[in-house]
C-alpha cells in the first residue's frame, strides 16, 4: 500500500465515510482496562445512552471500588467515587437531594453482591429512582482474581485454587433474581457485551433504564455478564467462549422483570 492511500480521520470524515464516532461523553484518557475486557464496552454504551438522551449535563455517576474505580477518568460527566460496596447508598444521597437529575451506579460483583449486599438490597427495596449497572465477571478483577460471590461452582480463582467448593464456600449468588422480587424495582434485566448484537441489546436495556428514571418510575437494575480475561487467565477470545459455555447457562440472558 502506498502512502497516498492511508487516510487520516479527517479524510474519512470529509469523504462522508464515518461509521463510528466516540461520544463526547467519553474522555480521551487511555482506558486502564485489560485489552479484551468488557468494562470498556459497557462504559461506552452507557455514555452513548446519556448523549443520545441529551442528559450528560444532568447526570451524576457513582464509580465503585473494583476495576472500574477509575470510571470517572473515562466518563466525561460529574462523578463521585464511592467506598467499596457503598455506591447505592451514595447514589441514594445524591438522588434524594436531586430528584430531577439522573443518577447511576456502575458496580462489579464483589462490590454489589458481597461487601455491598445490604446497600444494594435496601436501595432497591426503597425503589430509589436510579439506574444500577452491574458488571458480573464472576471474579474480583482488580485485586488479582480472587473468588467473587458470583464465581461459578468448580471455577478456579486465586482464593479457590482447586475450584469453588460450594460445600465450603457457598453457592454463587443470583442477586439479580433476588432483586427482581422487590416491589421498588421496576426493571431487571441480564445482558452481555461480548458480541455486537448483544452490545446493541445491552445498550437498549440501559436506555430503557434511564427512560424509567426520567419517568420517575423506580429503580432499573441492569446486569451485564462480562469477561475478565486477566482474572480468568485466558486470552480475550477464549474468555468469551468460556463465558458463553459456562457463565450464560448459570446466568441466562434476558429480561427478568419489567
Amino acid at each position: 500500500m502506498s502512502d497516498s492511500t492511508i487516510l487520516t480521520p479527517q479524510d474519512i470524515i470529509e469523504r462522508g465515510e464515518l461509521v463510528f464516532k466516540k461520544t463526547a461523553l467519553l474522555t480521551d484518557n487511555i482506558m486502564s482496562y485489560c485489552p479484551g475486557c468488557g468494562h470498556g464496552v459497557a462504559h461506552r454504551i452507557t455514555m452513548e445512552v446519556l448523549e443520545e438522551m441529551g442528559i450528560g449535563d444532568q447526570t451524576i455517576g457513582v464509580a465503585p471500588v473494583g476495576c472500574s474505580v477509575l470510571a470517572y477518568e473515562f466518563m466525561n460527566i460529574d462523578m463521585q467515587q464511592a467506598a467499596h460496596g457503598r455506591a447505592p447508598a451514595v447514589a441514594t444521597g445524591i438522588k434524594r437531594v436531586y430528584p430531577d437529575k439522573y443518577v447511576f451506579t456502575y458496580q462489579g460483583d464483589g462490590d454489589l453482591a458481597a461487601i455491598g449486599t445490604a446497600e444494594t438490597i435496601h436501595a432497591c427495596n426503597r425503589g430509589e429512582n436510579i439506574v444500577i449497572i452491574f458488571i458480573n465477571n464472576g471474579i474480583y478483577g482488580m485485586t488479582g482474581g480472587q473468588m467473587a460471590p458470583t464465581t461459578l461452582p468448580g471455577m478456579k480463582s486465586s482464593t479457590s485454587p482447586f475450584g469453588r467448593d460450594v460445600q465450603m464456600m457457598g453457592h454463587p449468588l443470583k442477586i439479580t433474581e433476588m432483586i427482581a422480587q422487590l416491589p421498588g424495582v421496576v426493571y431487571v434485566t441480564r445482558q452481555a457485551v461480548h458480541k455486537p448484537a448483544l452490545v446493541n441489546r445491552a445498550k437498549k436495556a440501559i436506555r430503557k433504564g434511564f427512560e424509567i428514571q426520567k419517568e420517575k418510575k423506580g429503580l432499573a437494575f441492569i446486569e451485564i455478564v462480562s469477561n475478565c480475561n486477566s482474572g480468568w487467565k485466558m486470552t480475550p477470545v477464549n474468555s468469551n467462549i468460556w463465558l458463553e459455555e459456562n457463565m450464560l447457562p448459570f446466568f441466562p440472558l434476558g429480561d427478568i422483570k419489567g
Partner: protein, 361 residues
C-alpha cells in the same frame, strides 16, 4: 423575636438543623440519640423547608448517603452514638479524603463494645485523633448545654464549608437527653446551587455544565507523588484550622492555684467543684475546650505557668489528659480523674480527687 423553648439536647440539635437551612439528614436509630431522627420524622421538614429526612438501613449506609449528598454541595448531617459512629469511620475517612463538608453528631455512650446506653466521653481519642484510616482531622466541637447543641449546628456548617472538611459534634447521653431552656435560631433559607457555588466555589457534582471540566469527588490517587501532594494540601488546611478555629471557655482562672480541664458534661460538673473549692479556701480555675480539635494547647500551656497543678476531669479512663500533658510539656503536674462505663463524676468526687492528686500528694 427570640424563640425560647424547653427541649432535650437531641431535639434542639434536630430543630436547629432544620433552621440552619439544611438540605438532608440521614440516620439510623441508636440510644441515646434516636430522638434526633424521631423529631425530624415528626416535624416533617420536607414540608417546611424541603429538607430530606431518611432512615437508612445502617450507619454505614447513612454516612455514605451523607457522602453522596454532601458531595453535591448540600448541607447534610448524620448522627449516631458510639457503636454506630465506629461503623461510620470508613465513610468519614473517605469524606475527609475527598474534602466533603458535612456534620456528624456523636451522642456518646459508654463502651467498649455494645457497652452501656449511659453517657460517656470515651470516644475522645476516636474523634480527635482520626478514628478511621489515614492522616486526617475532623473539626470537633464539644457542647456543654442544650443551647450549645443548637448553636453549634450553624457554626459547624460554616466551618465545614469554609474548609471543605467534616465537622463532628461530640456530645454525650447527658447533654442529648437532658431538658433545658434553649433560644432557637431563626429559620434560614436553604441555599440554591448557584448560591453555594458563589460562596464556596465550583467543586460539587451538580451535573457537568458545558464549558467546565467535570467535577470529580474522589479520595483515590494511584501515584504516590500525587497522593503525598494531596496529603500536603490536607495538612496545610489543618494548620490553617489550628490557627483560626481554636475555641475555649475560661472560668475563674484569674488567681487560681489549681486548674481543671474538662469538656462537655464534665465541664458543667467542674463548675460546681469550683464553688465547693471556694468554700474550703481552694482557688480552682477551669478551662473548657470547646473545640477538641483544634485543641486549645497554647491557652493551657500559658495557664499552666500560673497554677500549682492541673487535673483533667473526663468520663473516660484518661484520654484528653494526654493532649493536656502535651500542651503543658512537663512544666506542671497533670493528673486525670475519670468515671466511666456510664458513671458520672460528682462535684465532691472531683474536689476530693484534686485534693488527693494535686494538694495532698
Amino acid at each position: 423575636m427570640e424563640e425560647i423553648k424547653l427541649m432535650k439536647g437531641n431535639e434542639a440539635i434536630a430543630e436547629a438543623l432544620i433552621r440552619a437551612g439544611a438540605d438532608a439528614y440521614f440516620g439510623y436509630p441508636i440510644t441515646p440519640q434516636s430522638e434526633i431522627l424521631e423529631y425530624l420524622m415528626t416535624e416533617e421538614p420536607y414540608k417546611r423547608t424541603g429538607m430530606v429526612v431518611l432512615q437508612a438501613e445502617s450507619e454505614i449506609a447513612a454516612i455514605n448517603m451523607v457522602y453522596g449528598a454532601g458531595a453535591c454541595g448540600k448541607k447534610v448531617m448524620t448522627s449516631s452514638s458510639s457503636p454506630g459512629i465506629s461503623l461510620k469511620q470508613e465513610g468519614i475517612s473517605y469524606i475527609a479524603g475527598s474534602e466533603i463538608p458535612c456534620l456528624i453528631v456523636n451522642v456518646v455512650r459508654g463502651g467498649p463494645g455494645l457497652g452501656t446506653i449511659q453517657p460517656s466521653q470515651s470516644d475522645y481519642f476516636q474523634s480527635v485523633k482520626g478514628g478511621g484510616h489515614g492522616d486526617y482531622r475532623l473539626i470537633v466541637l464539644a457542647p456543654a448545654s442544650v443551647q450549645e447543641m443548637a448553636d453549634f449546628v450553624q457554626l459547624s456548617f460554616d466551618m465545614a464549608f469554609k474548609y471543605r472538611n467534616p465537622v463532628l459534634i461530640l456530645s454525650d447521653g447527658l447533654i442529648g437527653q437532658m431538658m433545658e431552656k434553649v433560644i432557637l435560631p431563626p429559620q434560614q433559607e436553604r441555599l440554591t446551587d448557584e448560591e453555594v457555588e458563589k460562596r464556596y466555589g465550583s467543586w460539587a457534582t451538580v451535573g457537568k455544565k458545558a464549558g467546565r471540566e467535570r467535577n470529580i469527588i474522589t479520595s483515590l490517587e494511584l501515584k504516590s507523588e500525587r497522593q503525598e501532594k494531596h496529603n500536603h494540601k490536607l495538612q496545610a488546611k489543618y494548620r490553617e484550622i489550628e490557627k483560626n478555629e481554636v475555641r475555649f471557655e475560661k472560668i475563674n482562672c484569674e488567681n487560681a492555684d489549681y486548674l481543671l480541664v474538662a469538656f462537655g458534661s464534665s465541664a458543667r460538673i467542674c463548675q460546681k467543684t469550683i464553688q465547693l473549692g471556694k468554700a474550703k479556701g481552694i482557688n480552682i480555675g477551669l478551662i473548657r475546650p470547646i473545640t477538641l480539635w483544634p485543641f486549645p494547647s497554647e491557652e493551657i500551656n500559658k495557664a499552666a505557668d500560673k497554677v500549682k497543678g492541673i487535673l483533667t476531669v473526663e468520663m473516660n479512663a484518661g484520654q484528653m489528659v494526654e493532649d493536656v500533658r502535651l500542651a503543658v510539656n512537663g512544666k506542671r503536674k497533670v493528673e486525670h480523674f475519670g468515671r466511666y462505663g456510664g458513671m458520672i463524676p460528682s462535684p465532691d468526687e472531683v474536689l476530693t480527687a484534686l485534693e488527693q492528686k494535686l494538694i495532698g500528694g
